[in-house]
Subunit: 142 residues, 2 copies
DNA sequence: TATTGTTATACTCTATAACTATA
DNA sequence: TATAGTTATAGAGTATAACAATA
């Protein structure tokens, strides 16, 4: 009998695939001199304008953490703060033109770096995997 | 035409699923008062004894980073250092009984917390997804 | 009073560079 | 000389707590 709890093969595969994917994403971010979180923020703001709190909730971070992240990205000219027109307390965060360019290059690099992984499967299997992942993600976490 | 590069549906699904999985793993680690990296180290050493360098390579970290990680885990009684019998320069890292217990509880918590995600699919789809992920991961990265 | 965001503080994670000890 | 590991240092990411401004 194994000392460790019996493993669920799907859990194992999902965790391993996630670590492999995160390694690729982290590397792609580092190539752009960004942390994974920074690249993620840029990707999220690529086509949205969000308040600090909404962004923090989206990422599962504390608002004080968001302040630091936005501070650093703002200093680099990738993001900008703007007052929220409807709530005097709120601060909107926007991506700059330079930030959008970095986000686009990052997304392209992610797709390129992930290709050896995703491209390993024949087209029919790629479609099946995509469908299964989408259906799995679609289920909200408890 | 979209301003952002055209997205690959599989890349998108994989990235989203990975972030969702990482969020669960990070939360499970935090519940045990560990960082994700610490929990991962414990999981790796659950049934192995590795030298510092091997561990660092495995995790994709610098050796100095490993020193810090092992220092903190050792201080908490979760890991221990031992001289390598074959190489006077090398240091082996071992998991302690307390560390193994924490690792087991963490693994169980990960499986439990991931259940809403993995359990969303019927058994046949779970098997298909597992198979596809395993085949995808099996391909070494470029 | 409650919410939004910032600031102060502390700790972990991470890397680079310089160092010691062994091979 | 080359490799294994530690230490010093620095910066980013993260959280908690206290605070100011607005609702």
């Amino acid at each position: 009998m194994p000392a460790a709890p019996a493993a669920d093969p799907l859990v194992d595969a999902l965790v391993q695939a996630s670590f492999a994917t995160m390694a690729v994403l982290t590397k792609a971010a580092a190539d752009a001199d960004l942390s994974l979180t920074q690249l993620r923020v840029l990707a999220i703001l690529r086509d949205r304008r969000l308040r600090m709190t909404a962004l923090a909730d989206y990422l599962g971070l504390e608002k004080s953490t968001m302040s630091g992240l936005v501070d650093r990205a703002e200093k680099r000219g990738l993001l900008a703060r703007a007052p929220n027109p409807d709530d005097g307390r709120a601060v909107d965060v926007l991506i700059t033109v330079a930030g959008a360019e970095v986000a686009d290059r990052g997304a392209a690099e992610v797709a390129r770096a992930l290709a050896p992984l995703t491209g390993a499967l024949p087209p029919a299997d790629r479609r099946r995997l995509t469908d299964l992942l989408v259906r799995m993600i679609g289920t909200p976490l408890a």
